[in-house]
């Protein structure tokens, strides 16, 4: 039985190496400076890059994080600092359930609320969808970390004459902050790779755009479009774009872990 479980471990970790191997094998060869600086070339021509999608992803995810992270932190603080109240319980349960909402459904929600009301696709709608996905993730991490802050610190702050909100913001939040940064970075990493929520919101584009009110390209959309397209050149671009995407996502995930590890190291 234990041997079988060992086999399971091998089977479980194998895909990472297979996928990374394929990405490097098929994607690395087209990785050039031009890939990071240029727009896509017309079909049939070589060269061309996904710079428009890199800036697009940065903008869409950046705006999403600006909205989603603070709201998530606020919600998490509320759910844990006012725990015991019915509203806090509901907040927590809703966050848990939303955490499992299919991203395509969130994309459709963003379409109904933003695209349908404004009557045009926009990067902002994509950011809205991604923020919506991030909020429950950030909320749950915040809540868990805030709960680890000892009550004695809250009491010490109150006894010094700190008001309730000052205690929460200055002492509780500040004590839990390193962990919250980690959780937020992981949430950003996760939504950076999301495609489904952007399909009918940011839509994608062939051009550079920095206008949040207009459709915008994003790396995951580029990968999807090129992977499912008919041209071999596109497939090659899809691999290279995937390699870039995964580097972004892994870099964020690893950065998140480094933050945690440093904190743990200091406390030891």
């Amino acid at each position: 039985m234990v041997t079988l479980m060992g086999v399971a471990v091998v089977l479980a970790v194998l895909p990472l190496f297979l996928i990374l191997g394929s990405l490097i094998l098929k994607g690395a060869s087209s990785l050039s400076l031009g890939f990071f600086l240029n727009r896509p070339a017309p079909v049939g021509e070589t060269g061309g890059g996904v710079a428009h999608a890199i800036t697009g992803t940065l903008m869409i995810v950046g705006v999403a994080a600006l909205a989603g992270v603070p709201i998530g932190i606020a919600g998490g603080l509320y759910a844990s600092e006012y725990r015991g109240t019915r509203l806090a319980w509901i907040t927590r349960f809703v966050a848990d359930v939303l955490n499992g909402t299919p991203s395509i459904v969130v994309g459709l929600l963003a379409w109904t609320w933003v695209v349908a009301t404004q009557r045009h696709f926009s990067a902002l709608a994509g950011s809205f969808a991604l923020a919506f996905l991030m909020i429950p993730m950030v909320m749950r991490t915040t809540e868990e970390l805030v709960r680890l802050v000892p009550d004695s610190l809250r009491e010490a702050a109150l006894a010094l004459g700190y008001s309730r909100w000052r205690t929460t913001l200055v002492v509780v939040l500040r004590t839990a902050l390193p962990g919250i940064v980690t959780g937020s970075l992981l949430a950003v990493a996760r939504v950076s790779g999301e495609t489904a929520p952007l399909l009918f919101t940011a839509l994608g584009s062939e051009y550079f755009s920095f206008d949040l009110e207009r459709p915008m390209a994003a790396l995951p959309l580029v990968v999807y479009k090129y992977a499912t397209g008919p041209y071999p050149e596109w497939h090659k671009l899809a691999w290279t774009a995937s390699l870039v995407l995964i580097m972004v996502v892994f870099a964020l995930s690893i950065a998140a872990r480094v933050v945690t590890r440093q904190r743990l190291g200091r406390n030891d």
Partner: protein, 255 residues
Amino acid sequence: MTDGAPRIRTERLSAMYGDFAAVREVSLAFAPNRVHALIGPSGCGKSTFLRTLNRMHETIPGAWIEGRVLLDEGDVYASGVSPVRLRRRVGMVFQKPTPFPFMSIADNVAAGLVLDRSLSKARVAEVVESSLRRAALWDEVKDRLNASAMGLSGGQQQRLCLARSIAPEPEVILLDEPTASLDPMGTQKIEELVFDLKREFTIVIVTHNMQQAARVSDTTSFFYMGSMVEHGATKQMFTAPREERTEAYITGRFG
């Protein structure tokens, strides 16, 4: 009390958690510039009583009080009195040292001071130094004021917390078993400090250690099952208690 107007006193004070009365109708007066000890077995209400004095009691959900607490004859539970402002006049140190982990030593001492925005940076630095001196910690930390407070020993952390609570110049300091988590050395230092600090402050200390009460306090109150059984000068309490229960507790027959 014999020596003039009390700094802080209670009138028929009861402290409740929901339906449960942890403290019942306690009337006590604490004279200024004295150390007052509250003793009694675990769960007798002495800590709860202490926490009503700076309105920390009410921070626990379901906790409430009846009766009055008067600081310089002003009712601290009167409507319009802000508990937040009150706590700047009545400082508190807890059983476990509670330095803020993300703050440096100096920032910890200044944590209460900075609530007063009118203070200049230079003034804050001055008060930090004088508070640390008064807490007998200055010489040990003066070279690492900007280091994390978490690097200090337990005893040093507790003295840091004491420095933090005296920095805003409160009138009363409440100590809730301040040496319970310290080693004998740390305990001795805190006790010496308490003795020194009564020149400037009125101190109320909860302790489960009777020798400590006998060593540091001027008056002692014995609590049992939520009631205040006996109150008097410490010397008299420990040599000739009036109540049988006090004597039984002091001589170690229970508790």
